[in-house]
Every structure is written in C-alpha cells, then in structure tokens.
Symmetry: C2
Subunit: 405 residues, 2 copies
C-alpha cells in the first residue's frame, strides 16, 4: 500500500465531466489499495473571472481581499471532486488549505508555506477516505486566508507529499512529461524518463512551461521525488529527482528556446567602477527582472569605454529603455539600443560537468547554420546564447540534432 499525492491542474477539472474523469482515475488507484491525497486547482477560467470582477470594482484591489476571493476557486473544485468520488462509491472528504494544516506566512498573494500539520489528513486517510485538498492556498497562524501565487497548486502537492512522507507525488498536466525540446518545434524531441532537479530548474527558468521554479526548488530542498505526467492517458511521465550517476552519462538533457526576451545595449559606456552597479540598481528599483548580462571588453583605444548589454522580459522593454535614458546624463554613454527580435537558446544537462567541449560543439553547430551569436551566458549545467529571433527554430533543431539526435 502506497501513499500517493496526485495534483490536477485547472484544465483537468475545467467542468463537471472532466472532474468525473479525474475521479475515475483516482478511484482506480484507491481500488488498488493505495492511500490517495488529491490536490486540485480552480476550474480553468474561474480565477480569471474572479479577477475580472474585482478589477471592474477597483483596478488594484487589496491583496488580502484577493486571497479571500481567489481561495473560493479551489474550494469549489475540492467539493465537486469529493462529490464525483462519492458518485463512484469511493469515500472521500474535501479540505481547504487551512483545514489540511497548511500554515503560511502573511504575505498575501505570494505566501510562503511555513509548515504543514497533516494530522487531520492522516486521520481521514486512515479511515479509508480519499482526501481532496485545495491547492494554492493556506492560512496564517492568525487565521487569515492566503494564496501561494503562481504555480501554487504544484507547491501544495509537493509540500504535502513531503509532510505526509508520501511514496509518490504525481503532477498531472496536459503534456506527457518533460521533453528534450518543445515537440511542436522539434518533431524528433523525446520524452525524458527522468531528469534531475537542477536540470528541471534550468529548463523552468528557460521557458519550458511545465512547472514553476519554486515548486522544483521546494522538491529539491526536501528531496520529494515527483512525476510529471498526462491526465489524458496512462503513459508513464518524467520522474524528477536528485541527480544520479547514470544521468551524467547523458551530455545534454534538453534544449529550450525562450522567445520572450528583449535585449538592451548601452553603447560606449565609460569603463570605470560603479557604472554597472548604477545601471542595475536603477533597473532593480523599477522592479524589472534582468536575465542575462554581458559586458564586452573595451574596444576604444583612446577613451576606456565598453558596450553593456542585458536582457529583460519582452513586455518590460519600454520600461527598461526609459530607465536607461533617464541615466544618460549621469553615466554619459553614447546611445541605447533596444532589440526585441531575439531568442535565447539554451542547452541543459548535468552531464556537461564531466563532458568538456559542450560549448565548442554548440557554437560550431550554430556557425555551420550561419547563426550569429550575440550574447553568451553559462552556468555549471547550462549554456545560453542570444541569437536573432528569426533563426531561433532553425538553430534549436540543429542543436537538438547535434546533441540528442
């Protein structure tokens, strides 16, 4: 008998019929003698509708009240899911985040889980029930309702799996698992049977939309092994876990292409201490998220000057150039260039630690394709390059073919 946490997202519970499908899947596991905790999101569309109504009343509603409002979405789903299990003759009981013992800090709309006291969950499981817990939500010590922010339901599932010492945590989604590349772009992409937390984190940060980084980080921190799999079929998914020796045998785990970045370049910045810190303090003060930063070596023999480039999320581009233009007199650069027609292509794999020459092979592949590299950034298990957007998919296919066949 295993204790399994199963998480279903908004599209898997979008209407009463889909909720019945989820219940049928859960009932099958329960019928095999497993103890099941189900974590569900709000039915897709419900959260957006609540946000729309709130904004109709006030453009920037209070985060405390938004948490009160949005928490109803998951509460609706847990009750309907419990009813769907009852309809199949399976004993089941729903619990809000608060009832399941999920205690958070008081940072409304992006609360952090402080601890979980799953005594009542265990009790209900021991009485033979499937326990259905509302994802995305918790409660402060003072009884205030909080939500966990984006990807919060995944986090609920992984944190509950940790607190309950579950044997398995399954994240059901609308894809079959994690792929070596986006199969819509690279038809030869393969589903991975396993991937390390670190690789998954890099991919999450690189535009692979399967999961938010914070859930993976939580899983890594507490050693929760989880499986990403499809709610539409019974295929095994991708197991995400601590790095193993066998993983190092594979040089590259996956290739990703992020089309949502834009590049800002300051031309002829005086090459003196404090300039970069001034630039990025201003950017941070404007609450803009910078991804890659590259400072080229001085190329002007007379005045020590340099070119400074960085990337931001595409929707933030105008805001970023405005911040930089406001610094012009203070810093004294020559001009600022903005480019939204870029793509960030990355290769990820823990194997590159023990396999030298990955960067060389990647750059050579791009060169053979006639793709110019505009920026480079590397970590221990990742190499990212910025290239022209219109060469992005061609470059991705070539790099995937070079490393992964």
């Amino acid at each position: 008998m295993a204790l399994i946490v199963q998480k279903f997202g908004g599209s898997s519970v979008a209407n009463p019929d889909r909720i019945k499908n989820v219940a049928a899947r859960v009932a099958k596991y329960h019928g095999q003698g497993d103890q099941i905790v189900v974590v569900v999101s709000a039915m897709s569309g419900v959260t957006d509708n609540l946000i729309r109504m709130a904004r109709e009343i006030m453009p920037l509603p209070s985060e405390r009240e938004m948490d009160m409002l949005l928490a109803t979405g998951e509460q609706t789903t847990i009750a309907l899911t419990a009813i769907a299990l009852h309809a199949l003759g399976v004993p089941a009981c729903s619990m809000t985040g608060a009832q399941a013992g999920i205690v958070t800090d008081g940072v409304h709309s992006k609360a952090k889980i402080r601890n979980i006291t799953p005594k009542h969950v265990h009790q209900l499981l021991d009485e033979g029930n499937v326990v259905i817990v509302a994802g995305f939500q918790g409660q402060t010590m003072e009884g205030q309702i909080t939500t966990l922010g984006r990807g919060g339901s995944d986090l609920t599932a992984i944190a509950l799996a940790s607190a309950l010492k579950a044997d398995l945590c399954q994240i059901y989604t609308d894809v079959d698992g994690v792929y070596t590349a986006d199969p819509r772009i690279v038809p030869t992409a393969k589903k991975l049977s396993e991937i390390s937390y670190d690789e998954m984190l890099e991919l999450a940060g690189l535009g692979a939309k399967v999961m938010q980084s914070r859930s993976v980080e939580f899983a890594k921190k507490f050693g929760v092994i989880f499986e990403v799999r499809s709610s539409l079929n019974d295929n095994p998914g991708t197991i995400v876990k601590e790095e193993t020796l066998s993983m190092e045998g594979v040089v590259i785990r996956g290739v990703s292409l992020d089309k949502n970045q834009a590049k800002v370049t300051l031309i002829e910045v005086p090459d003196k201490p404090g300039v970069a810190s001034r630039v990025f303090k201003a950017i941070a003060d404007a609450n803009l998220n910078v991804d890659m930063i590259v400072q080229n070596i001085s190329h002007n023999a007379g005045v020590p000057a340099t070119d400074l480039s960085f990337t931001v999320d595409k929707p933030d581009l105008l805001k970023a150039t405005t911040v930089i233009e406001n610094l012009k007199s203070e810093i004294g650069y020559k001009e600022v260039l903005a480019d939204e027609k870029i793509g960030k292509l990355s290769v990820v794999g823990v194997g590159m630690r023990s396999h030298p020459g990955v960067a060389a092979k990647m750059f050579e592949t791009l060169s053979n394709e006639g793709v110019n590299i505009e920026m480079i950034s590397t970590s221990e298990i990742k190499i990212s390059v910025v290239i022209a957007l219109d060469k992005g998919e061609q470059a991705m296919k070539a790099v995937h073919a070079a490393f992964l066949g």
Copy 2:
C-alpha cells in the same frame, strides 16, 4: 455613534455594479461615524449554478460537501464588497463565518448557530473598519464548514446583531418593507411602520415572502429589533420588534393569501379514538408538512362517522393522497378527495386579542362577496380560512377593505 448591522441579499449584490451601490450606502453610514457590520449573501444565480454543477455529477450530493461548495458563494461576495469599499476610500475587512466566530452544530445544510464569539469583529471595528461577514455559514467546533439553510443570511445578521449588542439591524431587500397586503393584488395596501415579532411570524408562515420564520423567531428570542427596508431607495422600512401597547389599537395588521396549499379530505371516517393519530403519524412519517386540520362533526345518524380534512403544500399533494390510500383498508374510510384549487386567506393582528368580533366581521365580508368558507383555523392573533382559489384575490381585497380601508 451607533453600531449597525446591515444585511444585503443576493439580488442587491448580483453583479459588480450593484456591489458598488451597496458599498456607497455603507460608506454613507460609515461617514456619519457609525460602526458598520455588513452581512451579504451569494450573488444571485451563483448558488443555483453551484448546485447545478454538483447535481450534474451526482443527483443527491453529500450535505457536508454541498456546504463546502456553497460557502464559496458568500466568500466571493464579502471579498468583492470589501474591495468596493476600499475603492471609496473606506477601510474594510472581510470575514468568513468561521473567522467572524460563528460556531454552529454539525447538521450540514441546516446547521443551528450554537454561539458567536465576535472578538475579532469588535477588534476590526475598533480599528475603524467596516467588517463584512459572509452570511449563511458557520463552522463547527471541529472546524467543519456548515451552512444555515434557507434564510440563513438573515439569521447571520440577526444573530450577529445580538452578539455584538448592535443598536440597529437593517435587513435590506427589494421591497420597501412589510405591507398590510401584497400590493400587487391589493393596490390600496399600505407599508407598515412597525409590526410585532408574532405578527411577522404569522405573516411569514402565511406566504408573505419577506423573511423566513426562524430568523424572526431568533430575533424575538433574543430581543433583536430589526428593520426591513429597500436597498433601492432611502425610504424608512418596517421596524420589527416586541409587541407594544400602541399595536393593540390596530385590530388587524395585515391580510395574506397563500395559493400554495392543497386540501385532502377523507369522507366518512369511522368516528373512534386513534384514527386521527394514525392518519397524521403516516403523514409525518412521509415527511409531509401539514398546515390546517379540520374534523367535521358526525353527520351520519346510524354509524358514527366523520369527514377529516387537512392541507399540505401543493407539490406534496400526490404523495399525501398516496399515503392516505395505503391506509384505506386499515382505517376503513369511504373515499379520499384531493383539491388543489384552494387559497388560504388570513388576517393577522395582535389587536384581535382585545377586539372581539374579528372573525364575525371577516365571515360576514366573505358572505357578502358570495365566497364559501371550506375550512377555518384560528390562533390567538390570526384567523385563516380556506376558500376557492378563483375567489382568492376578490376575497382578499374585500377583507383588506373591511379592516384596513
């Protein structure tokens, strides 16, 4: 500075615009320096939609899960109402029933309030907030979410007014208050400025749809004076309170017509002990609610026999006649008649205690109109007669004219 509890029903909060109207009204009172507790229902249509989804999954869903499900309706409204007050610059804080300290028994779908610990409500009021409490819901000592059943939001408001020792409790609705008769039938009907709990109770039981009896009973028990008034204008409404001496000066407070009853008559029932109890035990076992019962005197000189009539809610008529037919061999009556074309016309007033002749005047009025009386039932402050349905409105107008002008 007064402490006022204001309750707004589903149609008053049906959409973001109406919620803004409610907020504007609340803000006006708050601006005058009053402390305001707002109790709201689910937005109209929301509860029905949740019930529809649940029944799509299972025709008879568990009451515990229905409470979990339906409690989201009021939770949505409290958050949106708080946001609407913030938009007007009024400090406001929403609370679920549980957070407001409303503790109930564990009878899901029709829980009774056990006690209210309004410490947090008082704290928030003292900090200058409008406090918005979800109607219709509470929590057991064990942390289970419960709902109070029909009319539950009125009950929440009145119980909170009692626990908070409020100066005033206002029940906002879509009518201007309690009328001497339904103005759609009797154009000369007048709004009452005040009415006693007992009169209100009789009217509630007689088809006047303003409020459920249990809320009025609760108010009477704990001496909570409340006002029924319109959310569409600023007209004063009807104050409901303990009987006063001045109320006795008025013979009749109001006239009501209930078209939702049906009559069952057993012809030639043996006139011997135990027969009536056998009939009404069977009716009670079938969970049918009986209103009036009349047993005529024996009219058969040979065999002691009698005719026994009673009324039930119209939708229960078939069930009632079936129960009676199953008793035929045991009791030995001659035949059973069913009549759904009846109306129950009632006059209500504490004044009739000190004004003899009310019944005579009512019967004379009906006689003058050519209306035949089929059944009569009286209480201390009420006289009801069953008449033909097609004479109902004519009779109501005549009786209203005779007593109330």
